[in-house]
Amino acid sequence: MADQRKSWRDRGLMLATLPVSALMLFFFLVPLGLTAALSFQSTKYYRVVWSWDTGTWIDVFTHGHYWSIMLQTITMALACVALCIIISLPVAYALVNRMRSVENHVKVLIVFAFLTDAVLKTFGWVLFLDRTGVMNGMLETIGFGPAATDILFNPGATLLGMVYNLLPYTIFTIYLSLARIDRDLVLAAYDAGASRLRTFWEVTLPLSRPGVIAGGVLVFVLSLGVFLESKVMGGGTSPMAAELIRQTFETRVNWPLGAALTLVVIAIGVLTLGGAGALFLHLNSRKGTA
Amino acid sequence: MNEKTPIIDARSIDKFYGGYQALKQVSLSVHAGEFVALVGPSGCGKTSLLKILAGFEDLSGGSLTIDGHDMVGVPSSARPTRMVFQKLALFPHRTVHQNIAFPLKLARRPKEEIDRRVGEMMELMHLRAAYATRYPAQLSGGEQQRVALARSMVSQPSVLLLDEPLSALDVKLKKSLQAEIKRLHRTVGTSFVHVTHDLEEAMMLADRICVMRAGRILQTGAPSDIYFRPVNGFVAGFIGETNLLPTRIERPAGGLRFEAPGLSCAEPVLGTDQAAEGLEAGEAALMIRPEMIVLSKNAADDGECVMEGRVEEFFIKGASIQYRVNVPGVEAAVVAEVPGTSQPPADVGDNVRLSFARADLFVLHRD
């Protein structure tokens, strides 16, 4: 009953889908195709030459430098995913199970922080963590002396910024999957004599897996494009793929190479998504036979 | 009953969903002011028929006129019908007043008229005037039902279509709303077409009942016809419990001769009016309603027809006691419903006689 079959002659369907499809086709899919095409061109005196060759790709695959940056980006992204999930699990669990009364206020606070301008927040972190910032100031007043600790301008600071900006994604996906768990399952586990910790481990955690996977994948893919954090907080100490791409376009003005590197990052993201999708199907099929 | 041209005239309607045929050559006519119930088990096509009448579904074949106008291709918004939905479909974001006023507002009636009509409808449905500003979620189940009825009736449709609106209610509320619907029908004089899977409800409310099964109408008739003169075993079994004895009939001139194992009648002949239409000689079923049977342990207490057997089980239902009796030669236990007393007339294992008048027998198709 809920499914209404629509034919493409239906005006409502056309109105609802055609404009947005046209937008996405023309300004998302076509640009992607163009990027792919550009990666097969070469460049001369900062201008693109339509040469249709694989020179750029050979360049990409033979330079270890690019790949070490990709590897570093992936490492940072994985670290970011791990931290986001570890932090989000207790938060989401508490929101669902312990804080019904203030749940909405907490959610509004998180959404508000999430929607605030990322540049400003990153700048705020710099002010907080700087040599002469709030943190060192406070440490000094409680007697840690003037030994200003350098927290900024290292890969750790970049990671802090990434976790800060991406954490809301995992909190909300895990929250949604936890909120859908039937409370009776948890009670059944208690009833069977399981302790709280064991119940969490054996019932809640496995059932929250869709949210964990979805949130993790989302954070991973979005981490691949980070450059604000690495530039402003990391101080360029941890070159990330996005920074490399930006430089290739802006400083080196090598569009084919920039396009190729962009496609490499997109490919990593798509492969991750595909892998997660396969994992999902695998888990579901196991559930089916059980 | 009105013998003029019918308000609804549906002829030989077919309805296909993909390869599945939901309605097969269904014909139905409803007269002005008549209350017709469509009854049948789920999947019998009764709801499909109602949706075709309302204009939510197209018909695949056949013809449909309502109020003398051809309805093929006419959208529901332009039909003189209104529907009461199974789940009521009250608009949760509108108050009771706004819900009831909605059809009038769409018809651009002046505000005074809308307010007056809504007030009248609320009064007619016994809704307190103070409820006008409430939202549906703030009403009880019964009140919501009455708002839904008021919304459907406010623009004075020629036909009201009811899609099992009472099926989700508890028994007590159901009874009171059945009375309410009956009263509404008497007051307004609109034709009602009521879909239900509850034949008892249909018998209480309707002037005429259509029993449907697997996309076909099996029988259309007054409630007493459906109950006492069912066309076949399916219709007979659809309400309450009944006894169907396998039988053979012959048609010698002057009457219908029957013989059934386990049953002995002084004169095994029935009048021609005691048989379902179109019945040929051969295999058939003999129906006797449980409440027509007299049960006794006394051999001398004879009726025109008699069966003998042993009590398998009995249930005290309050107003009556139901006996299940094993009769040699009859496969299913024979059910007899006797008036309730503090002393059940027989116990499990007792040998009993079941007797009844020959006039209470009815022969019908086997199926």
């Binding site: 938060v91 959404v111 910790l197 | -």
Partner: protein, 278 residues
């Protein structure tokens, strides 16, 4: 039993602690900015010696500030209108309808959500540059608007889809039955019922656009919005006008999120039954 109790206490500490910790974490940079915006000093260092509104004055006097504010407002408003409209149609088509090429439609309208913003911006910039060299124009605020709509529409769509999910079709049937045409059904029934989702989506869209850096940075050409204005500023060296700007730019977000909460509560109050007067 005592072990269970201990476990329970420990769990509570971890759970409540994590929520409190995360909230503190989220608000550290925000509060730091607000704090520094009221500092007297030219240098952004702690502890703050004196409070003043001096830097707000300096900010209003800055040449680049007003165009950036105007650009941000235009960009966010226009993007919100388009993303929300596309989101409504898309969500209904996603959830309630079945049609040919639906999978393709769903993939196409969801994919930008899975793209890092910078890459989305870069890919579109390449396209705009090619288009620009063909048709002789250069990217500006309008190309940033297109970029924002592409990026934000999936968010709006998902938020509205959550509201559309569980929509009772018979309500629309009932409206049709009462004599409503397609447009009336949409305006009187469908839209009011999905309104909470549409409203949240619009607020979300506005704020995503208002605070967006990456896409604006890639696509706006020479046009500056508040985020790119700040970025170009702090890239050169931090100035005390930026905390003041940050504090000011929180205001619309705060107002909108507060407004959304008020609406949500009002809608919830309507659904909840008052004590029955029977």
């Amino acid at each position: 039993m005592t072990r269970d109790r201990l476990e329970g206490h420990l769990a509570n500490i971890v759970l409540y602690g994590s929520v409190a910790g995360v909230l503190v974490f989220f608000y550290i940079p925000i509060l730091t900015l607000i704090l520094f915006s009221f500092s007297e000093s030219r240098f952004l260092s702690f502890p703050i010696e004196a409070l003043s509104l001096r830097w707000y004055g300096e900010l209003f006097a800055a040449n680049d500030f007003w165009p950036a504010l105007r650009n941000s407002a235009v960009l966010a408003s226009v993007s919100t209108v388009f993303a929300t409209m596309f989101g409504i149609g898309g969500a209904i088509a996603w959830i309630r309808w079945r049609f040919r090429f639906q999978r393709f439609f769903q993939g196409l309208t969801f994919a930008p959500l899975l793209f890092p913003q910078l890459l989305l911006g870069v890919v579109m910039l390449l396209w705009f540059s090619v288009l620009g060299s063909w048709l002789d124009f250069s990217p500006g605020l309008w190309s940033a608007i297109i970029g924002h709509v592409v990026y934000i529409t999936p968010f709006a769509l998902v938020i509205i889809a959550v509201q559309v999910h569980g929509f009772d079709d018979t309500l629309e049937d009932a409206a049709r039955d009462a004599g409503a045409n397609r447009w009336q059904v949409f305006r009187e029934i469908t839209l009011p019922l999905i309104w909470p989702g549409v409203f949240s989506a619009a607020i979300f869209a506005f704020l995503l656009s208002w605070g967006n850096f990456y896409i604006t940075y890639s696509l706006a050409g020479t046009a500056r919005t508040l985020p790119t204005f700040v970025f170009s500023g702090i890239a050169v060296g931090s100035s005390p006008i930026y905390p003041a700007l940050a504090t000011l730019s929180f205001v619309p977000a705060l107002l909108l999120v507060g407004l959304a909460d008020v609406f949500r509560r009002r809608a919830a109050a309507r659904r909840a039954a008052p004590p029955k007067s029977e």
